[in-house]
Amino acid sequence: MRHLLSTHDLDRDNAISILDIAEDMASFGHRDVKKLPALRGKAVVNLFYEDSTRTRTSFEAAEKRLSADVINFSAKGSSVSKGESLKDTAQTLDAMGIDAVVIRHGSSGAPHLLAHSGWIDVPVINAGDGTHEHPTQALLDAFTMRKKIYGEDSRGKDLSGVRVCIVGDILHSRVARSNIWLLSTLGASVDIVAPITLLPHSIGAWPVRVWHSLDDALASGCDVVMMLRIQAERMTHAYFPNAREYGRFWGLTAQRYRRLNSETIIMHPGPMNRGLEISSEAADSPQSLILEQVSNGVFVRMSVLYSLLTGAKGQLA
């Protein structure tokens, strides 16, 4: 594994290895000295074409804890409108002698292009591209589920037998895509809940069970409910009539939350629209792992950085 571009092409062994190393990273997370020297002398660029304080901060924390030198390169807006192409930026970074690129980009496939264009020859980590994938988010979600289910015995385990229900804008969600592929690879079964307008037209080809009613899906029993952020602009493009109706049919309202089995895990990749896709009662409940997701994000990203940047050619052993 040289890059982390998607979970679609991440095999089970590599995925489990990343999660296991993240467990070890987590074991350092509680002590006074949190820094590890593993990536000392390595320069990692956070190349962010989209604002995302959460993801960038999480990567930055992961890089710093591994002693890497962090260079934040924010190039807001598309490369075309800015006048400098992705190619020129990549070649510039390459000339600076950096060791890895973490890229967040509004265009699907931009990390793939960076990794395979020959413009730059370093590991590329996808920190979210357009409506394509967000692999580290899916990895931290899987890590969080596994930790909740298996605790200290998580190492080496997959998610066989776990039922995960993903609710919301599947069509535009890179989080949903990455989760669907990774969860399937790890043996979980995935249920999708959304109005048809927010599903890909060819959802039938995906390894998921599709529901249109959240109540029916929840009543059928699931171990994890993952709520996706709904973008306000979807309303103006006729994907659904208004926020009130969306919340009524597909939101994790207080009422729906109270009907959940007390073991059901509640997750959300953030940032949340409280009162729209998720009620505060659900988000702040003991069943909610939303803050664990944030802390685990750092460990999983440390693991990914460690896995890609060490080794003779960044190869997994």
Binding site: L113, P200, H201
Partner: protein, 452 residues
């Protein structure tokens, strides 16, 4: 002074070898004896002779986008691909929506001499889809425009489309529709399906093309007008055209070489060389399109040669330009997808790549190898296979999707109006071609055609 060329051992339209004598820009004699008098004798050793190819759908980019292509470089690419006539699309800058622009393009073509250039006129002013362009003015101009298209944009307003069909018919023209519902394709990047869903690229549903074609064949039927559909790309579109033809609607359709060969799977690497409008579709569509050419539902193959500078392709997929160059590779791809598959013989190839497009575009001097016809012809070796590369291109841009793909066949000679534009695998010198064009260009000049 008489010029003449004797082609020995030419398999005309794939038939048995014969000798063909060209004199003073015309086919003088078929089945000529091997020892007849000629200035130049060319033994083509059993290769195929076809009438010079006619492309009803070429983007020459001049005026306005000369960094991508010019009339000269685009017609050089045409000559290298065996084309002797090209119809130049109207989406230039300024748009070819008035007599001035179309006459300029036609004149540049005449001067360069590598191919006969028929400008296509815009349907609407500035391709804006709001008001009709100067259709009559372009039809009556020296460029003698007979094909009108807003290609790149769809004439989507139904009332405007009705008026355009009627008005173009008034001038004995044909409207070539770029069938794309703009609302169903907002921000669309590639065929809508499993691949677009996985790649997170906004889908371009087949129905966005099919719904426009369905409406337009109904309009054409109602109005009794002639309609041509550009670059049909889906199985559903084929069905609509087939049903319309069965009812006697006066509709013709084209398919591009790339839609006959490539599928949406090529988008998997986010390589924008495969980004094109309409998008590459599925294997099922490719098969339906090939069958449609074979059974005549689709009348012609047209390249949609769309040159773009390298930096508009060497970038993020959704920022990249739509389109691919296709003049040089068209005949090898037709060979691969239709001839080698047994779906077309060489006389049918001559129909879909020469006589039918000439007929649709009213380029009456093109498309024939009969005695007395203007000597536009191509010699093609169908067996010379090669791995395609950008070095096989003769135009200004390099955005070919076929680099690294093995394509069968090679154009050996292209002759326009009795003089070579492409000789023995090489483009002929610019100055020599321009000089020959001055002597023989009149054979297809608009005045001549107008008198016919």
């Amino acid at each position: 002074m008489t010029t003449s060329t004797l082609f020995l051992n030419a398999r005309v339209l794939g038939a048995d070898s014969e000798n063909v004598l060209v004199e003073n820009g015309r086919i003088a004699r078929r089945g000529a004896p091997a020892d007849c008098e000629a200035v130049e004798v060319v033994d083509v050793a059993g290769n195929i002779m076809l009438p010079g190819l006619v492309d009803l759908h070429t983007h020459l980019r001049e005026p306005g986008f000369e960094q991508s292509e010019t009339v000269l470089t685009g017609t050089q690419a045409a000559a290298a691909g065996g084309f002797t006539t090209v119809f130049a699309m109207a989406n230039t800058n300024p748009v070819a929506d008035n007599a001035g622009v179309v006459e300029q393009v036609a004149r540049l073509g005449e001067e360069a001499g590598y191919a006969t250039v028929h400008p296509i006129g815009a349907v609407t002013e500035g391709l804006a889809g709001e008001r009709l362009a100067d259709i009559g003015g372009m039809a009556a101009s020296r460029a003698h425009v007979r094909v009108f298209s807003d290609d790149g944009k769809c004439v989507h307003d139904s009332l405007l489309m009705r008026r355009a069909l009627e008005y173009v018919a008034t001038f004995d023209g044909v409207l070539a529709q770029h069938a794309q519902d703009p609302r169903l394709t907002v921000d669309a990047q590639m065929n809508e399906g499993e691949v677009s869903a996985r790649l997170g690229l906004t889908g371009w549903p087949a129905v966005a093309e099919e719904s426009i074609i369905a409406r337009d064949v109904l309009l054409a039927e109602y109005l009794g007008a002639r309609l041509h559909i550009c670059h049909v790309s889906t199985r559903g579109s084929v069905e609509i055209v087939r049903a319309a033809k069965a009812r006697g609607v006066c509709v013709t359709a084209e398919v591009t070489p790339h839609h006959l060969l490539l599928t949406e799977e090529f988008a998997l690497g986010y390589d924008a060389r495969f980004k094109v409008n309409p998008p590459l579709r599925t294997e099922e569509d490719v098969i339906a399109l090939r069958r449609a050419v074979a059974d005549g539902t689709i009348d012609i193959v047209a390249t949609d040669h769309a040159p773009h500078p390298i930096d508009t392709k060497d970038c993020e997929w959704d920022s990249a330009a739509f389109g691919m160059v296709g003049l040089e590779s068209a005949l090898p791809i037709v060979n691969k997808t239709l001839v080698q598959t047994g779906m077309l013989d060489w006389s049918a190839v001559a129909r879909v790549l020469s006589s039918s497009p000439a007929e649709i575009g009213k380029a009456s001097s093109a498309g024939s190898l009969g005695e007395g016809a203007v000597a536009d012809l191509v010699i093609f070796d169908p067996h010379a296979s090669r791995v395609w590369s950008t070095s096989d291109l003769s135009g200004r841009s390099l955005n070919t999707p076929y680099a690294g793909i093995e394509l069968p066949g090679r154009v050996i000679h292209t002759m326009r109006h009795g003089y070579f534009t492409f000789h023995d695998g090489n483009l002929r010198d610019e100055a020599l071609v321009a000089a020959d064009a001055q002597k023989y260009g009149h054979l297809s000049s608009t005045q001549t055609v107008a008198k016919d």
